[in-house]
Symmetry: C3
Subunit: 151 residues, 3 copies
């Protein structure tokens, strides 16, 4: 088994994705909705399986996070999104396919942290004009919604 | 204190180990028992301290995961194995010694995620014929089994 | 958006920080107080917002961890500190500014793991004489202490 076919390139890519997610999630959890939306392409599709329909485009993504953050502030709750077990597969067309795990930890004022959600996150990432990464498609599968199956 | 003696090589190795664990754990949690077993050497030894005896060899590893996954499917439970705080030490003989933390998060259908286990995982990794990584030995120490001691 | 301005250098730095934190936290959780304190500068300032005052200097840091670890051993509790979502920003003066998330997982003998704390950790790191990394300043903000605000 060869884990990475082009080690040097993939090493650099792998790091870049990790650093990207760090900033991406810190923007999200800080409620910086507009800056967070700019880490997606203008026409990005965010599709959680447990949502009735996908959120499409930066404006809608920013508005959704703005609303969520206002509700969290009203509830006195801080949330932290963690990505881990990040598997990065560069595609032949310059896109990246990422499959990783996600956890959401929530803490209310005066309370103790709780594990709110465990998910699988599948991203398609592309390069913007400056060479930076942007998410073009995100599919989120929340654990506990569908029953697990044999492979 | 010098964290890495050969930064370039070690950087590449460190990434490769992270990417390896991502795929390794995603195979495990998907119940892809045979493919998961192939990320170990043919004669690998998997030794959780809390198990009565180690599991030895790919066939036994695959069979154990197959049984576990069938039980999880029957119970409607999804598990996610996270590795973190990964410390990689390359040995003079080309092996890698890894010591990291592991968490297991479990979610039943209709339920919320729970923290099932916290462990320390110690791996000895080697290269296969194609240059990819394989686990040759794994020792797992589960928190809460033995009382902590002064160092 | 350019995620990393100098990809090669930053890739190496990013890895070095991850490996540093792995060893740093494993020393902490093993109660190896003196070795842990040596991953800080001699005059380091460790300032958790929820503590009455910062801990300053290696000797005080080592003594604090020594006391904490003795209490944990007396209580039969193992703790694991996880860092994640690590955002590394190299400064013009050779320092690194890191902002990341931290989780503390605790397990008592015979018990199951619990999520004890969720934090944001902000480090200023510098190079020692051998080129290794040391923490010069650490600021920790514990979730649940202050109410979240709009950005």
């Amino acid at each position: 088994m060869t884990v990475v076919e082009e080690p040097v390139t993939s090493s650099s890519l792998y790091l870049e994705v990790q650093q990207f997610y760090a900033r991406h999630m810190q923007l999200l959890d800080s409620g910086r909705a507009g800056e967070w939306a700019e880490t997606f392409t203008e026409d990005a599709v965010f599709a959680p399986e447990h949502a009735p329909e996908p959120t499409v485009g930066r404006a809608a993504l920013a508005a959704a996070v703005q609303r969520s953050h206002e509700k969290l502030v009203a509830d006195g709750e801080v949330r932290r999104h963690w990505h881990g077990m990040v598997d990065v597969a560069p595609g032949p067309d310059g896109t990246l396919r990422v499959r990783c795990y996600a956890l959401i930890v929530g803490t209310r004022v005066g309370g103790t942290p709780g594990l709110l959600m465990s998910c699988v996150c599948e991203d398609v990432m592309v390069r913007d004009g400056d060479g930076g990464l942007l998410v073009r498609e995100r599919r989120v599968t929340k654990d506990g919604v569908a029953a697990p199956v044999l492979p």
